[in-house]
Amino acid sequence: MAAPFSWIRPEPHGIHIVPADCWVDPSKPVDRALVTHGHADHARGGHGQTVATPETLAIMDLRYNTREGATPVAYGETIRMPGGVDATYIPAGHVLGSAQILLEHAGEKVVVTGDYKRRPDPTCPPFEVTPCDIFITEATFGLPLFTHPPIAEEMRKLLDRLAAHPDRCVLVGAYALGKAQRVIAELRAAGHHQPIYLHGAMEKMCRLYEEHGVALGELRLVADHTKDDLRGHVVVCPPSALNDRWSRRLPEPITAMASGWMRVRQRARQRNVELPLVISDHADWGELTRTIEEVDAQENWITHGREEALLRWCQLHQRRARALALVGYEDEDD
């Protein structure tokens, strides 16, 4: 018998499942890829076969035209791969279609979370705790200072500011996949039923969400409207457009940004943000540590963010852990 867990190997370009010769979230093209979710640092084009949830495949198709080789797996469904490896896709609560992947081989269980959060999100089903032997967790916000406030509080800040300046608009920078749609859905939940205006780059992804049953209310394109039409309204754009020439067409925008990094004042100042909204699709410190406790794996592998602090926490709590050095992952504008 092979050594325990020798079938799964962290390599610089992704997690290699040796007997099936396939990779989880590889950062370079491979023959067979298991993809957790549609964000660019996890989902790349050019693989021979891509195994993912139908929603993630739709997102990838929109971004990279990857219809060929697409193999859909629904939440809760298991796919058998060569070499006797089973892969089950389980909700991760991160963005539409996001999944943890449970890998089983020779009686050993490994969960790869991809990115995840534990807060409710109207645009995707919640994270499910899955018992396993090795838990491979992200650590984007892996520092104890990161505590994301309840999202309703942040929505209140946004709507209060909007109401205080009826002749201006609030321009919200939000990551085009996931964050933007969640902010819009949460605005609706907070009782804001005015039309919401979109930067052109957000439109297709919002439509895709709606096609998958996420109601976003009335959306309009900034390009179809005059400056005056936008007064007193919320405008959503990608973070890169916040300080761009594009924003000159808006009526004295109040610059907001929806991101977990906004918890740190200087990060907000660096981006010229006047109204920081601490909203993240990643687990905060409390969620990361609680999840490690609840999953209670024999060993935790930490990737993708501030591994050092989470590693230290595991050490202080007598939990086995190691940091994986994966390349190609970046801090999402999140």
Binding site: L143, P144, V264, R265, Q266, R312, W313
Partner: protein, 532 residues
């Protein structure tokens, strides 16, 4: 404290100067005494509580949190007060907590000792939310560093109550926080504070860099700009004080100047150390290096006084014998200053001479030829200029000597603070102690954190991250491959550096991505630039 915390947060996120003024003015109008006075003092000058230091906050947190997790968090945020405000653990029992008012907080902070701070500061922090904790810790440790200058805070006060900012400046230095007399005058229309018989600081008139401007010598007079420290000597009510450029009282550092002015006056000049050694002309001033020996001392030995005697080279007179000269044109003030000279002992005073030049071109030649190391450049003053606090376009210009240049190699980089906390923006660089191809080493010669654009900063930051060879906390040692052309004003012998040299005002002049490190300059080349 909540309103103050809200104000601080709003200021942090506001770029526009007008909006900042509006926010502060609104706070000052809506807040009672003495809270608003303390808040204004904190914004304008920063408050000082000897028992509360950054290290106190660090130690409090390290008692409550794993030290490794604290350090990782602090490095990420780049600001101790903010990190602590975010990481402060919520109090155990959920009892009713009333936040302190600003003045309650100030009173408590003032009363703290090095010992009691360890229990009393936590009690205050427990009564506040994260924003309140941030405001409290910023207030407690001095400098707010939130993009509000002292001038801006005073302008906001002037705007809040529709009084002139010049008057605010004038009274400010005669009063102390929380400024009840100032608010009584500005907000309640009472009589202005009486500062006539107090030896208070009057804000300096400052100059713009000349840059490309060419002036007409019929309208302007030229003076040497001396390389000492700008001081104001004030005598009123039988007391003399010496103030630095920022208005700090430095009388104790220069006791010899307190007995030599015997009539009421406010004089503007350059404080220098006498001596022919280190580059000064005979009987004149020594280089800045000599003056350095005298700076920052709270008590001065007889030996110091004898070896490095200080004197003031006078530029201007603001008030004397009960007369306010500030509205007069410079030419008339100069005449009055010259007339005062016989009453000022030449052991401790002389007059900064006017440099005669018929044309701007002739003046340029004179500037090129200046050899005295105590000369930093030239000042150009419009002959009809009144003496006005601050910098006004068109009145005074400074025309510095061209900087010296040398090619150095980047050795260490450190994370910046504040806005630059996520970048490696403070650089230590060195020169070779011999032939680099024959195994010579680099010795650090200086540090700089300015002179580059934001774009260049990003590129250097990336370079540092990709070429790190060693980490020491927030400092990275890098591969010795990047050459900086460093500009500086002068260089002196120094025992503090291994290279034996110290630069004055080094800044990055150009980044030489193209230049191989072994072609950077050697220590001897830098030593040859000593002007002494």
């Amino acid at each position: 404290m909540e309103q103050f915390a809200t104000l601080i947060d709003a200021l942090v996120y506001t770029r526009s100067r007008n909006e900042k003024l509006r926010l502060i003015a609104e706070y000052l109008r809506g807040t009672p005494d003495p809270d608003r006075g303390w808040a204004l003092a904190a914004l304008a000058d920063g408050l000082d509580f000897p028992a509360v230091k950054s290290s106190t906050i660090r130690n409090l947190l390290k008692d409550r949190l794993d030290p490794v997790l604290w350090t990782l968090s602090r490095d990420f945020v780049g600001d101790t007060a903010e990190t602590a405000s975010l990481l402060w653990p919520p109090p155990l029992e959920d009892t009713e907590r009333t936040p302190p008012t600003v003045s309650e907080a100030v009173d408590a902070l003032t009363a703290m000792t090095r010992k009691s701070v360890l229990t009393e500061l936590p009690e205050l922090l427990d009564r506040l939310d994260p924003s309140g904790r941030y405001a409290l810790l910023k207030l407690a440790t001095g400098g707010m560093r939130i993009g509000v200058s002292s001038r801006l805070a005073k302008t906001a006060l002037a705007q809040a109550f529709d009084v002139s900012v010049e008057d605010v400046e004038e009274y400010w230095h005669g009063l102390t926080a929380p400024y009840p007399e100032l608010f009584a005058w500005a907000a309640d229309g009472q009589a202005p504070p009486d500062i006539e018989n107090l030896p208070t600081f009057r804000p300096f008139m400052l100059a713009h860099p000349l840059e490309e401007t060419v002036v007409d010598m019929a309208q302007y007079a030229a003076e040497w700009k001396w390389d000492g420290i700008r001081v104001q000597l004030v005598r009123a009510g039988e007391e003399t004080r010496v103030y630095s450029r920022s208005g700090d009282d430095i009388s104790a550092t220069f006791p010899e100047l307190l007995e030599v002015l015997d009539f009421p006056a406010v004089l503007d000049g350059e404080l220098l150390v006498r001596g022919a050694h280190q580059g000064g002309e005979a009987g004149g001033a020594a280089s800045f290096n000599a003056l350095q020996q005298r700076l920052g001392r709270k008590t001065v030995s007889k030996k110091m006084l004898a070896e490095y005697p200080a004197f003031v080279r006078l530029y201007d007179v603001l008030l004397h014998d009960g007369k306010d000269c500030r509205a007069l044109p410079w030419e008339q003030r100069r005449e009055q200053l010259e007339a005062l000279m016989p009453r000022l002992p030449d052991s401790h005073f002389d007059l900064s001479e006017v440099v005669a030049a018929d044309s701007f071109a002739q003046l340029a030649t004179i500037r090129e030829g200046a050899r005295d190391d105590a000369i930093e450049g030239l000042m150009l003053k419009r002959r009809d200029s009144p003496y006005i606090a601050g910098r006004r376009v068109g009145y005074w210009y400074k025309w510095k000597r061209d900087p010296l240049l040398i090619d150095c190699v980047l050795m260490y980089a450190q994370r910046g603070s504040g806005k630059r906390s996520s970048f490696f923006s403070d650089y230590t660089f060195g020169c070779w102690n011999g032939d680099p191809d024959a195994g010579a080493e680099l010795l650090p010669v200086g540090k700089a954190y300015s002179g580059f654009t934001d774009e260049e900063l990003k590129k250097i930051d990336k370079h540092v991250r990709q070429n790190t060879t060693n980490r020491f906390g927030p400092v990275r040692e890098t591969e010795k491959i990047l050459v900086f052309e460093v500009a500086f004003d002068s260089v002196h012998e120094s025992k503090r550096h291994k290279s034996g040299l110290a630069m004055r005002f080094p800044r990055i002049h150009r980044i030489r991505w193209d230049k191989p490190a072994h072609e950077a300059d050697r220590i001897e080349a830098l030593r040859a630039l000593i002007r002494d």
